[in-house]
Every structure is written in C-alpha cells, then in structure tokens.
C-alpha cells in the first residue's frame, strides 16, 4: 500500500514538473522583452535595494512597452553578497535570457558581476553604484549616477567651506563603496589644506563604534566622514552623540534613508550628506515634474520623501528603454551601441550622455542636512570638469 502511494506521488510530481515547465515556455514566448533587475533585496543593503526596485517597477508601469512588445522585469536578489551576486547575474543571462540589466545598489556586487554581463554581451545599467571600477574596462557596463571621485570632492569642499580642518574618516573594510568614497574624500580634503587625524576601518555587521569614535574624539577631529551602509550609519551617529562628540558628521548618498533618522533619533540632527536628486528642485526636468507626483502615488506613503536611488532606478530603466527603441532590436551589441550614442536625453535626475567609460556625465550633486527629523535641501554643488 505504502509503495503504491509512493509511486503515485512520484508520478504526480513528474507530471507537475512537466506542467510547470510547459507553463514557463508559454510565458517566455516572443511577445515580451525581458529586462533583468539585479538588486539586493536582503542582506546589508536590502533596504536601499528595495527602494531602487520601487523606482524601476514604477518606470515599468509608466512605460510598459517597447518595440510593440511588453517589457517584463525579471527581479533577482543578489543578497548584498559578492558570491551571491555572481549566481544571480548568471541566472539572469543564462536562464532568463534578459536583453539588458539594471543594477545594482552597492558597488561591490556590481563589480563582482561585471564580467558575466560583458562575456554574455548583455548591456547593464548601474543606477546608483558610484565606484569608478564598476564601468572601468567593461564596455557593457553603463551607469546613470555620478561617481565617487566627484562625490568625495564635493563633500570635502563642503567640509572645508564650513571651516573644518581636521577630519576623521571611518570606512567599512572590504566594501568598495565605503573605502572608495573615503579615499577620494581624503585625497581632496588634504589637497584643500585639511588634515586627516584618524583613518579607521570597521567590519561588516559591526555594531560597536564606541572605541573608533573615542579615537576620533581624542584626535580632535572637527568633522567625521563615515560613508557606509544604512545599517551602520544610524549606529555611528547615535554613538557619536552619546560620547559627547560635537563634530560635523557627514556621509554619502546611501545615508538618504528614513531608517537612519529612525535609528539615530535626535542625534541625527545636523548630519550632512550628498545625494543625486531632490524632489523639491524647482529647476527640474520635465520628466521629473511628471515623476514626483506619480511616484508618490505609487509609493502610497511608504517613504516620506522620494529616495534618490528610486529616481535613479527609474532613470536607468528610462535610458535603457530609449536605447532599445533607437536600436530597433534586442541584440546586446546593438543596444550597447545605442547607449553610447545617447545624447541629451532628459531623465528625472538630469540629462544623459555617456563618456568613454560608460558613465553618465553628471556634474551636479545635491547636499542635504537632517533637520527637525527630515532631510532638508541645503545646496546644490557643481564641480567643473
């Protein structure tokens, strides 16, 4: 009796597997174009990654078709982990056969997956990964945001302009975003006559920053620059205030996230960061004016402000779709060529054209300050190329 049951179950399982396989084939028919979304939804950067995905999903809702076919988003989770990123990227190009890829939040995972996209000749568009190494030497990787050398320069200039002379730099060991931005800030800060009094690292998932911050305090730092993931940011800010540190605390684009204010509370007041986009910018592009109210409705109050990474996610999709339209085909090489020929395309975060590395030529960063528990626009900083 038991054997009979087992064999029946086996037959059923096989039948089910076939049905599922068949179902997939029907869906994969030629009337859709697949675009891969390569983002962290879990792990250290899960928070930022999901915000970026929100922007991409909204863009897909606004522009659901290209070349007369429906665009289907294939979302994979790279789990904020370089090894997982390779698996996720391979799945996109080999199993899902996507024609292009958007992502990822977090430079490290983008760098790790770069070769896979290049070898498969699938153009990839990073939305908010700011480390130069993402696109360097990879003709298939493009990027919609500004770069860390630029961001680091802007922040160092801002600190010096505030009369700060002694900086403590705190970065995350092994994180390409954090160490990259930290070193570009250091270079510019020194060039402008400042002094780096403490240069310290911490490891992923570290929660105790008391000793590092005590060092920074005893070194007499008047500005603390700590580019890091959202997980560490709130803790650094909170612990600095508990140690009685009154220095200006600064971070990069990742810090524009509500959860930092939620974690750090009052301690977050006065924290300064740079970012890509400001929803209240009056000189915004036409696309941005359309995007802001539309996306607010899409979010339904999930985020009190529009995260800059969501705007960039939207733009990445927008730029790729435009390239596919101009290429008139879904061939990777053709899309790549169309991308390099993009000129003056007005997205949400500014106008798009790419330099020889595939980086969007942007010369504009927004500086924000946390005030009254909110991110407030402080100034826009542009640095001539």
């Amino acid at each position: 009796m038991k054997k009979l049951f087992l064999s029946m179950a086996a037959v059923l399982a096989v039948a089910a597997a076939f049905t599922i396989g068949y179902g997939e084939k029907v869906l994969a028919a030629d009337d859709t174009i697949k675009i891969g979304v390569f983002e962290p939804l879990t792990g250290e950067n899960g928070g930022g990654g999901s915000q970026e995905v929100d922007g991409i999903k909204y863009a897909n809702q606004v522009y659901p078709e290209v070349l007369g076919k429906k665009v289907e988003l294939v979302i994979v989770d790279n789990k904020s982990d370089k090894a997982e990123a390779v698996v996720a990227a391979t799945r996109l190009v080999e199993k899902e056969k996507v024609v292009a890829v958007i992502g990822s939040y977090g430079s490290g995972v983008s760098i790790a997956a770069g070769d896979i996209f290049r070898n498969a000749k699938v153009p990839a568009m990073g939305a908010s990964c700011t480390n130069p190494m993402v696109t360097e030497g990879n003709e298939f990787y493009f990027r919609a945001c500004f770069l860390d050398p630029f961001q680091g320069t802007v922040l160092a200039n801002y600190a010096i302009a505030q009369g700060k002379k002694k900086a403590a730099v705190i970065t995350q060991l092994g994180d390409d975003y954090s160490t990259g931005l930290g070193s570009f800030f250091t270079r510019e800060f020194k060039k402008l006559g400042g002094e780096i009094v403490a240069d310290q690292q911490f490891q992923t998932n570290e929660q105790d920053f008391n000793s590092i911050l005590t060092n920074a305090k005893s070194a007499g730092a008047d500005v603390i620059f700590a580019p890091s993931s959202i997980v560490s940011a709130g803790l650094i800010i909170k612990q600095a205030k508990a140690l009685g540190i009154s220095a200006l605390i600064m971070g990069g684009d990742t810090w524009e996230n509500e959860s930092i204010i939620q974690v750090a509370g009052d301690a977050a007041e006065g924290v300064v960061l740079s970012t890509f986009f400001d929803e209240n910018n009056s000189a915004a592009t036409a696309e941005a004016k359309k995007f802001v109210p539309g996306f607010k409705g899409f979010l339904g109050g999930k985020d009190p402000i529009i995260p800059a990474v969501a705007a960039l996610g939207y733009d990445a999709y927008f730029v790729i779709l435009d390239a596919i339209k101009r290429a008139g085909s879904t061939d990777g090489e053709a899309i790549r060529k169309a991308l390099t020929e993009t000129k003056g395309l007005e997205g949400v975060t500014g106008s798009f054209q790419f330099d020889e590395n595939g980086d969007a030529q942007k010369d504009f960063a927004v500086i924000k300050v946390i005030k009254g528990g909110k991110f407030e626009y402080l100034s826009s900083q542009s640095v001539g190329k």
């Binding site: 899960g46 929660q207 005893s218 959202i230 997980v231 709130g234 508990a242 009685g244 996230n257 509370g265």
Partner: protein, 297 residues
C-alpha cells in the same frame, strides 16, 4: 593618551564585555547540559529585539509592561525551539542536533527578513537607560554602567540556582551523566527545557541592554554578537558559567583596547577575537576555567 580617554575606552569595554558575558552564559549552559552548541542563540537574541519593537513601538505598551512581556516571549521562543528542533533528536548522533541548530538559526533569520524586511529599524527608546551622563571628558549612557551591575547580579542568582536548589542539582546531574540521570528518575526533558528558558531569558536581558546601547535592529543583528559570545564561552571554558562571564569580560575589554592602542588595526577587531580563540584551543583546549573531562569507557 590622556587618562580621560583611557577611562572612556575602559568604560566602553567593561560595558561591552558584560553584554558578551550575559549572552555567553546561554551558550555555556546549553553546552554544559546537552553538549550542543546552540547556533540559534544569537537569533533568539535578535528575535527578542523585534519583540521589544513590536510590543513598545507597535502595540504602544509602556516600558514597564513591555519588558516583562518581551522576557516571557523570548523564554517561550527558546523553549519552543528546543521542543521542535532539538527534542526529537534527543537520541540521535550529536552531529544531527548541531545541523538542526544551524537550520533553526537560518530559519529564524529568514523569518525575520520575511516579516520585518531587511531595512534596519530603530530600537524603542528606554529613557532610563539611554540618558547620557558626563564626567569631565568622559561621556556615556546610563546603560553602560547599569549593564555590569545587572550581569553580576544575574551571575550570582544563577550560581545560587545551580548550587543551592533542587533544579540546579538536577542540572548538574544531567550534565555529569545524561543517561544515568535519566535512569535515576530525573525528568531530563524538564531540566533541558528550563535550561533553554534561562538561556533565552539572559539573551532577552542582553538584547534589551544591547538595544539601548546600539539602537538598531535588523535580521542579522544577532550574528556577530552570537559569534563573539560563542568565542567568549569557549575562551572561558565552555560549560562553566563563571568562565563564560570571565571570557566575555576579557574579550569585551581587550577589543576596544586593541583599537585604542593600535588605531591602525581597527579593521582587525574580529580577526583578533578569532585569533584569541585559536590560541586558546591550542594552548588550553578546555578554556580558562574549564575542567579536564575524561571520556567514560
């Protein structure tokens, strides 16, 4: 280094060390009785943080109601974990229970990601603990000095329990010889359940103090403390309760000192903890206060 800065580092270390100690006791007790490293202990600690968030921020309970509730929920979670993941494997090879423990750890982490997402959440503010005190150039939150006091108190209470009560006697008997204890009529399931309950209770206390000091909570929040406290327990001699406290204190104080005296080495903090573990295992495998055990033939 000025004395003010040194005292600051020392206070930071003492408080971190007492937190490590609280959590390390949970590892050491379970090991002492079941010879099992409860890999899910750090995740029970993490869940306690989310319980606090749900009761205080979510349900809006006042602090004096939510703390007992959190303690109760965590104890129940620990006992439930033991019931479902370890009890069915009571007579299975030890390796199976170990694998079950790893599975339980991943299950809890992913459950938390599923329910609460990966975005870090703020830990509810407990004003009594988070008040900032300032003495000259030394500045700290009240929780920093409260933690060692609570740890010492709980250690004494635990020692009383183990050495002066009937349940403690049963625990010692089970840890000495599990089979014989069972034959002598000791209800080992109840003893083991109680052990998990106590371990989880300490993890919950540790989690509340941890949350006051490091007020961010995310699904992987228990991973690093879990690992460090496991190291502390082995360092002090796994299975030995005062040893776990001593190991926790030593690890917690040396880590910040390493950073204080070698600012260039800050990134090697975790490597230092693991190096300490390796050296201990080579030099004195039973740990600082561990006893030499002989296998029964």
């Amino acid at each position: 280094m000025s004395s003010g800065i040194f005292i600051q580092h020392l206070i930071n270390g003492l408080s971190l060390g007492s937190l490590y100690a609280l959590i390390a006791i949970g590892y050491t007790m379970v090991y002492g009785i079941l010879l099992l490293i409860n890999f899910a202990h750090g995740d029970v600690f993490m869940m306690a943080g989310y319980f606090m968030m749900v009761t205080m921020a979510g349900m809006g309970l006042p602090v004096y109601l939510s703390i007992p509730l959190v303690l109760l929920m965590t104890v129940l979670l620990g006992m439930l974990l033991e019931r479902s993941a370890y009890k069915p494997l009571r007579d299975a090879p030890r390796m199976s229970i170990m694998i079950s423990a790893i599975g339980a750890s991943y299950l809890l982490e992913n459950l938390a990601i599923y329910i609460f997402t990966g975005v870090p959440k703020g830990y509810p503010n407990i004003p009594f603990l988070t008040k900032v005190v300032q003495f000259g150039s030394v500045s700290f939150q009240l929780v920093t000095v409260v933690t060692p006091i609570i740890t010492v108190f709980l250690l004494l209470a635990l020692m009383f329990l183990v050495h002066r009560t009937k349940m403690g006697m049963a625990m010692r008997a089970v840890s000495k010889d599990y089979e014989t204890a069972r034959l002598m009529g000791i209800k080992i399931n109840r003893v083991i359940s109680t052990t998990f309950g106590i371990g989880s209770f300490l993890a919950a206390i540790g989690s509340i103090l941890w949350g006051a000091k490091y007020p961010s909570i995310f699904p992987l929040v228990g991973v690093m403390p879990g690992l460090k406290c496991f190291i502390a327990a082995v360092f002090g001699g796994i299975g030995n309760i005062p040893g776990a406290v001593l190991g926790g204190l030593i690890l917690g104080i040396t880590e910040p000192m390493l950073i204080a005296f070698f600012p260039k080495m800050t990134g090697y903090r975790d490597a230092f903890a693991f190096a300490l573990l390796i050296i201990m295992l080579i030099v004195k495998p039973t740990g600082l206060l561990g006893e030499k055990t002989t296998d029964k033939v």
